[in-house]
Every structure is written in C-alpha cells, then in structure tokens.
C-alpha cells in the first residue's frame, strides 16, 4: 500500500540567466515525498539539490527562475500560488533548514525572540502562548533547560544545539514538510549522528515528512526511507534506500558507491568517476552522464532517458534498461 505523496515535483526546470549565459541548474527534476517519510536527495556538489529545495518554497535566488514544471503540495501547484499564499506556506506548512546553523540564526536576537516571531507570524497566539509553544518545542528537539535557551543568543550555543534550535524554530508552527539542506554537514561526526536520530524521531512522533538533501551516502543509508540520486539537475535513479544503495542500476550510482571506502574492498584503491560534473552552462546532449559513462551507446548521445520503473518502487533513467521497462 503506497502512501499518498505530500509533495510531488514533476519535470522541474530552474535556470539562472547570468552574464556568461543561461545556467541550467535544475533540468527536469521529478520526485515525490510521501507523508511521514524521509526522502533523501543525494548527488555531487552543483547538481542542483539546494536550488531544488529553495524552488519548493519559491525562493530561488536572483537571477534564478523556475522555467518549467510543477510542484504539487497536497495536490495543489505551489507555482500557481499568490505571493501572500506562498508566504503563509513558507514556515507555516513547509519549513526549511540549512547547513550552517550559526549563520542561519540571527546573531542580534535571542533564540526565544526568533522562534516566537515565526510562531506569531503564522499562528494567532498571544506572546505567552507562543513562548509556551516554543518551550515545548525546545524540549521536543532535546534542548536542555528550555527556559534558559529561550533567553540565550545564538553565539552562546554550540553548533549541535544551534541546529536543534533551528529545527525547533522550523517545526514550531506545525509544518508538515521539512526541507533539510545538508543539516549535518557543518557538524562533528558524533553530533551529526545525534541530529539524524532527532530527525527520525520527529518524523515518528510529530509525523513530519522530511526532504533530506545531502551529498553523503552514509547519511542516506542511516536515515532515509527512499532516496533519489540527482545528476546535473535531474534524478537518475530513485527507490527504496536499500534497492538504490545495494541493488543500484544506474552507472552513476555505481560510480558513486565505488568511490566510497567499504570493508569488502579493503586494500583496493577507491575508484573516482572519470571526468567532471557537467557545467550547467553547456550540458551534454542526450543523457548528461554519457561523457563519463563506461556503457555509453549511440542513443545516449541523442536522447535523454526517461525515468522508468524496474519493479514497483525502483526507477532509473538509463538507456541500458530501455528493454526492461515494465
């Protein structure tokens, strides 16, 4: 039984019009985030993960523009929402957190001031009620001594506590979807693990769905229910974490995993994927991965492969599987 998608991104395109030319940052990105799941969006630096995350909130930075596609949230296209409707959705129903919590918190306001401002922006509550809500949120994200945290300034907290505060702030209004862009990348390994555990806990207890953006396959393996592998602005492989990580189909996913250290390959050299990530200014024709692919065929240079199902939950965009579509 498949849960209904909470968020459904379909053939999203985002372009940046720069002096050097048009940068195609996101190229036909498609994936779903279902209710109550943690969906991992993984890929190398520059493949369009952050831009996709910001596009969901219609916050693509200047000079970027969403040029095509749709982003359905509860079945309604966010790209058709008015400015004020969008403002209510941001932070109210879809929240987002970033990599560096110390930079994401405003240095000259207390944590309490910042969280109550967000709560009161979205919910018709009094100052006291907002504070109460904030304190219980602090407790929910495992911040010690909530009353004290409420009155501290961001710089007085460690990175791990700052990220917990950031998560509390993001979820304080009861948002249903959390877009977490590399939420643990800037943190120590032990703290990373704690934050990931917290995210899973919040999913379980508060029922929040999470789009977890990361370049770290370890994070995906530990935390995500499903995962999409992005390359040059579109998904090349997607499915249950287990299927994608242990029964991968796409040559790029193969390459990514081969580049990781693994006990079974002890003593062997790690294999980096040959070549470079394509530049968004001049994408290769056909399949964007073809210049780096060992299995490249003529068709790969001409036609961009569509995502096709190989079994119920496992999708791949590669001409190698053209025969097997079901």
């Amino acid at each position: 039984m498949m849960a209904a998608p909470l968020l459904s991104i379909d053939k999203l395109h985002v372009q940046f019009r720069t002096y050097a030319g048009v940068v195609h940052a996101v190229n036909g990105m498609s994936f779903d985030v279902r209710k109550g799941e943690i969906f991992g969006l993984v890929g190398e630096s520059g493949c369009g993960k952050s831009v996709t995350g910001l596009a969901i909130l219609r916050m693509v930075p200047h000079p970027g523009q969403i040029s095509a596609g749709s982003i359905l949230f509860h079945g309604e296209d966010l790209l058709l929402k008015s400015k004020s409707e969008m403002q209510a959705i941001r932070g109210g129903r879809i929240a987002m957190i970033f990599q560096d919590p110390s930079a994401s918190l405003n240095p000259v306001f207390t944590i309490g001031n910042q969280i109550t401002r967000v709560i009161r922006q979205h919910l018709p509550v009094s100052r006291d009620e907002a504070k109460e809500r904030a304190l219980s949120m602090f407790a929910a994200v495992g911040l010690p001594d909530p009353e004290n945290i409420f009155h501290t300034y961001p710089h007085e907290l460690s990175g791990g506590l700052q990220q917990r505060a950031m998560i509390a702030l993001a979820l304080s209004t009861g948002a249903e979807l959390l877009v977490a862009d590399e939420p643990t990348t800037a943190l120590d390994v032990t703290i990373q693990a704690q934050i990931l555990v917290l995210l899973a806990e919040l999913r379980d207890k508060q029922g929040v769905s999470i789009l977890l953006i990361t370049h770290n396959l370890g994070v995906v393996a530990e935390t995500c229910d499903r995962v999409g592998v992005a390359y040059a602005g579109s998904i090349v492989e997607m499915g249950d974490t287990e299927d994608v990580l242990y029964h991968m189909k796409h040559p790029y996913t193969h390459g990514l995993l081969a580049a990781l250290p693994h006990p079974s390959r002890r003593g062997q050299l790690l294999q980096a994927i040959e070549g470079n990530v394509p530049n968004g200014l001049a994408l290769p024709s056909g399949c964007p991965f073809h210049p780096r692919c060992e299995h490249v065929m003529d068709v790969c240079r001409e036609k961009k492969p569509e995502l096709v199902c190989l079994g119920a939950e496992h999708l791949v965009a590669c001409h190698l599987y053209d025969e097997q579509r079901s």
Partner: protein
C-alpha cells in the same frame, strides 16, 4: 554588572581627557602672540590701564597658577568673562548653546527619520529606480555646500513662495507680544510646555530651513551608510532563513536586518552630531541663527581665549559622552560585542 563597572571606568577616563584638553587649549591660547589685557581694556589704552587689567585678570601670576584658578572657577560653574565683551561666558552659553543644540537636534531628527528608511529601501532594492534616485540624493547631500543650499532655500521658500521666514529663531512680533518664557532655552520645548502655540508654530517655521540645510550632510551619510550595510546584511544566511520561515518583508527589513545594520549608521550620526555643535557656523550665519558656531568663531577671530577654552571644554564633554553612548549602544545592540 560589568557594564556599570565599564561605565565608571570610562567616566574616569573621560575626566582625564577633559583635564588634558583643558590644559592643552589653555596653554595654546596663552602662547599665541596676543595680549588679553589689551583686549580687555579696548582700543587706545594707557600703560596703566593695561597693567591694571593684567592684575584684574590675574595675568601677572605664573601660568600654572592661572590655570588652577581658571579650573577652580570652571568647577563652580564660572567660566570666566569674555575679554572682549566682559560678559560672563556662562551667561552667553545659556543663550547660544541651546540655540545650536535645538538646531542640531532637529537636523539629526530629519537625518534619522528620512535617512534610515531611504537607506533601507535603497539597499533592499539595489539597482532599482528608487535606489538610483536615493543615491543621487545622498551624493548631493554630502557634496552641496551648505551655505549655498541655505541661500537657495531662502530664495525659494522666503523669496518666491513666502511660506517660511527668512532667518532668526523667532519673529519680532511674537517676541514682543507672545514671548517665550525661557526655561530650557529650546524654543520648541519652552513654548510647548507653556502652551504658547502661537510661538511654537512660529519657532517651528523658523527652524525648518536651517535644520534642513544642516541636515543634508548627515542625511547623505546616513543614507549611504545604511544602504551599504543593508546590502551586506541582506545577503546573510539568517535573512534567507527568515524569508524561508515566512516572516513578512517589512519585519525582515526594519527589524531583523536593520538591527544588524544600524551600528555604523549610529556611529556616523553620533560623530556628525558633535561636529555640528561648532560646525554649524555657515548655516548659523546664513540664517542669522544666534548659535555656538557664530559665538566661537567671533571669539577665535578676536583671540578671546576664555571663550575659546570654555567652548572647547563644552564640546569635549559632548564628544566624550557621545563616544561612551556609542560604545554602550553597540554593546546593547550586538550581544557579541564585549565592553
């Protein structure tokens, strides 16, 4: 608690600064080649008169003794007498200083009320039409000579339109029939607390042109400073985080970003406030404003050393306190600043 300690420490330092400034100005005023005793007695004095004056003024005593006697007076509120007019300087200051202070404060208010919002909008809409217009205004503000602007404004608003009075602090009729009772020396405040609204309106009309003229420079500075720090702050991740959290644009600009961007603007405003106390001379002359700038300039031209020393001390007091205020304001705004 550490803040109180800091304030006390700074006040002690302030006293040291004031003592040094008083010594330096006192001695400089006395080594310039001029004879205060001769100035005291006026033109064509006899030898005897000058000698007499020298004794009255204590100029026959050693220099250090003169200094101590002078400072003793200062501590008791006696700043001495002008060697030109024989007027007690503290009496002079009671009329000239509030006049300048009122003018400068109103001009600062204009700079803040217009400069900060314009700087914020200009920085937020970098490259927009509003931004270009505002920047032009800011450049004009800091580069147009004030006396010229003052004359042009007089020409327009008094000469052509007849909306506003030409100069002075108050109309002669008002001074005669609805006089303002002197309390603080600020006409706007004194007339308001006594409910003398006729005089209030008249004083307000009089202060508009000189205050606006004096405001152009700090206004230009405020706009430029606010604009550039706003541009920087608006690029910060916490602003993106606030936008992503759905905070309204107005709150983002005027609360979340401005509090991060305001410190350099406050500093510029504070320093230009102190500067204007004596630097308003050109505006005072153009608008016949009986202020400190005019007073001290005349004193300098006639080497009226007790006046020079007194005004220098007065301005130094303001300078020291404004600096203390700026440091405290900075620590209050930004919790990362330690005193």
């Amino acid at each position: 608690m550490y803040r109180l300690e800091y304030i006390i420490r700074r006040l002690i330092m302030a006293i040291a600064v004031l003592i040094s400034v008083s010594i330096v100005t006192f001695f400089i005023a006395r080594v310039v080649p001029s004879d205060p005793a001769a100035a005291w007695v006026g033109s064509h004095p006899t030898e005897e008169q000058v000698a007499q004056a020298r004794e009255t003024l204590g100029l026959d005593r050693p220099l250090y003794e003169q200094y101590f006697r002078y400072m003793q007076g200062v501590l008791h509120g006696d700043l001495g007498k002008s060697v030109k007019t024989h007027q007690p300087i503290s009496t002079d200051l009671k009329t000239f200083f509030p006049a300048t202070l009122e003018l400068v404060l109103v001009s600062m208010l204009i700079a803040i009320v217009f400069g900060i919002p314009l700087g914020v909008f200009s920085g937020a809409g970098k490259g927009s039409l509003l931004d270009h217009t505002t920047r032009l205004l800011a450049i004009a503000g800091v580069s147009i000579p004030t006396f010229w602007l003052g004359l042009i404004l007089q020409l327009i608003f008094f000469g052509r339109l007849g909306f506003l009075p030409l100069n002075g602090r108050i109309s002669t009729e008002i001074a005669l029939y609805d006089p303002i009772s002197q309390m603080t020396g600020f006409y706007l405040i004194d007339s308001a607390i006594t409910g003398n609204w006729v005089a209030f309106k008249d004083a307000l009309l009089h202060i508009i042109l000189p205050a606006f003229t004096l405001a152009t420079y700090p206004l230009g500075l405020t706009i430029r400073m606010t604009r550039s720090t706003m541009i920087e702050v608006l690029n910060e991740k916490y602003i993106l985080a606030a936008r992503v959290a759905g905070i309204s644009e107005r709150a983002i600009l005027f609360i979340l970003a401005l509090k991060n961007a305001i410190i350099p603007t406050i500093t510029v405003l504070g320093l230009s406030f102190v500067y204007s106390l004596t630097g308003a001379i050109l505006v005072e002359v153009v608008f016949s404003w009986p202020g400190l700038g005019t007073y001290v300039t005349n004193a300098v031209l006639s080497i009226d050393f007790p006046v020079i020393v007194s005004v220098t001390l007065l301005v130094t007091v303001f300078y020291v306190f404004i600096n203390l205020f700026l440091d405290l304001a900075q620590a209050m705004i930004d919790p990362r600043v330690t005193l």
